[in-house]
């Protein structure tokens, strides 16, 4: 069993990992940048060490420094959380070489899944439906145009190594493709070090539904059902729920099986998420595999009773899965809202000094917090500062409770997206389950203009 884990992350997820590690009797090491010294996770860990200045390259992405601290203070494992180094195959490889357990899949899997073009190929071969699109990278505008013509506009132009919505764009016509192709290719090169682009057919009226999987090092793979994460802004999730109110039991089963096939195709280990687009006919298409813990993992935990971070640490320690698929049923409904430090109408970041943090409390309310009252939210990292998770016996009950919880959620000093969350949660179309990826464009933004 892992004895001491270094958490190579910050904010709410670092705190979340420390909590589960402690429950397993694992010692915890936090690493932090200069501006994060007063973060809750730094206080929670058994030991905390300074990484360096605020900028991510000098702190949370500083592979050498993180490995050095792990070795010096004898952490036998590193948990990368999400974002930052979590899907960096070079980091995982370095851990492997240094004899440090990387809490996640091995570096080979990370490399394969990191390339979306490669991942699509593997999944197609494994019989997992993928979004119709180009199999190889499209190097020139002419190649891209020829391909777009073949599948028909609108299409999604994507960077093979893209993530967080960067390098991804809907394109409606040849003319638009001509205008944006080189720019996106350039950005992909700049951000991800590789400008390989590909095109997918844009799926109409799509929902984003993903399947949580668990795989141990002994060949056992299982899934923990789905999460629907269609409510997004700037290609990033804002509200997630489990289970999806849209798919039928038959589709749920088929998607679970496809996710298991996907995991097995790459000998996946640890927890991971297989993301699909689902159209209005319940056809589903693989988009990518997230080889790490997801931001929205708590809603799966709420409806299944499984602690996914504990499972990660147990799997990484070499333990076989102790869960039995037949014992796990979806119980009730859970919703997560992401609290972002941002303008709720323009979605621009809003860093600053928090002057009040007053949170709703209740049996069905769960908080994951990256900040505390009087916390300074800096502009250096992701704007997500907290997550609010509520559960209920039914979707209706969960929505009602989320509404109450949001009404009692007070953050002063910075702008947050709470007004947006309230508007969506109370929207008739949301209540009806009409939760398509286009929701924010179709229903939320037009309300602001009135």
């Amino acid at each position: 069993m892992i004895k001491k884990v270094l958490i190579a992350n910050r904010g709410e997820i670092a705190a979340r990992i420390i909590r589960s590690a402690k429950q397993l009797g694992i010692k915890t090491v936090a690493v932090f940048s200069e501006v994060d010294e007063n973060s809750p996770f730094v206080q929670m860990a058994d030991e905390s060490y300074l990484l360096g200045p605020a900028r991510v390259n000098e702190s949370y992405l500083n592979i050498d420094k993180i490995i050095e601290i792990a070795k010096e203070y004898r952490a036998d494992a590193i948990h990368p959380g999400y974002g930052f180094l979590s899907e960096n195959h070079l980091f995982a490889e370095k851990c492997e070489k240094e004899g440090i357990i990387f809490v996640g899949p091995n570096s080979q899997v990370l490399k394969q899944m990191g390339s979306k073009i490669e991942a699509r190929k593997i999944m197609k071969e494994a019989g997992v439906p993928v979004v119709p699109g180009s199999i190889e990278a499209l190097d020139t505008i002419d190649e891209a145009k020829a391909f777009a013509k073949e599948i028909g506009y609108p299409v999604m132009l994507k960077a093979s190594l893209g993530g967080g919505g960067i390098g991804m764009q809907v394109v409606q016509s040849d003319e638009e493709l001509e205008n944006v192709f080189l720019d996106n290719q350039q950005r992909a090169k700049q951000f991800f070090g590789d400008g390989s682009m590909f095109i997918e057919k844009k799926i109409d009226d799509a929902r984003h539904i993903e399947v949580q999987i668990l795989a141990d090092q002994h060949g056992n793979v299982m899934h923990l059902f789905e999460r629907e994460c269609s409510i997004q802004r700037r290609n990033q999730k804002v509200i997630e729920e489990a289970p999806s109110s849209f798919i039928s039991e038959a589709t749920r089963e088929k998607m679970g099986e496809a996710a298991i096939r996907a995991a097995k195709a790459v000998d996946y280990t640890n927890v991971g998420t297989v993301e699909f687009l689902v159209d209005s006919e319940e056809n589903f298409y693989f988009i990518e595999m997230n080889a790490r813990i997801q931001v929205e993992h708590p809603i799966t935990e709420e409806v299944t009773g499984v602690d996914l971070v504990k499972e990660q640490l147990l799997i990484a320690s070499g333990n076989p899965l102790s869960l039995n698929k037949n014992d796990i049923k979806i119980k009730g409904h859970a919703i997560e809202t992401r609290i972002y430090a941002e303008d709720p109408e323009r979605f621009f970041p809003s860093p600053g000094q928090i002057t009040r943090l007053d949170l709703p409390e209740g049996e069905h309310i769960r908080h994951e917090l990256g900040v505390s009252s009087s916390f300074q939210v800096t502009p250096f990292y992701d704007p997500m500062i907290a997550k609010l998770i509520v559960s209920g016996a039914s979707r209706e009950e969960a929505i009602e409770r989320m509404k109450d919880a949001l009404n009692n959620y007070h953050i002063d000093g910075i702008k947050t997206n709470i007004p947006m969350l309230k508007t969506i949660i109370e929207h008739d179309q949301f209540k009806k389950g009409n939760t398509k990826i286009s929701f924010v464009d179709e229903y939320y933004l037009p309300m602001l203009k009135k």
């Binding site: 621009f348 970041p349 809003s350 502009p379 992701d382 704007p383």
Partner: protein
């Protein structure tokens, strides 16, 4: 004289204009970067760039003047 100000706190990622340059309404003059997001700042007026108050890498607060026009 007109001022173009930052609409959020963050660092200056790119300065897209030079002093003495003629700019037109809605033209991007500076790109700010904050919380993993790039925000282009456009001028709301036509004019000639009089002074660029920031350089790439500088940290600015909401409301800080980035560029002045005449």
């Amino acid at each position: 004289m007109k001022e173009i100000t930052a609409n959020m706190a963050g660092s200056v990622w790119k300065v897209l204009v030079q002093e003495g340059e003629q700019v037109e309404i809605d033209q991007d003059v500076v790109i700010l970067e904050s919380m993993k997001m790039e925000i282009p700042i456009a001028t709301e007026d036509d004019g000639i760039v009089k002074e660029i108050k920031v350089k790439e890498g500088d940290f600015v607060n909401e409301g800080d003047v980035l560029v002045t026009l005449e």
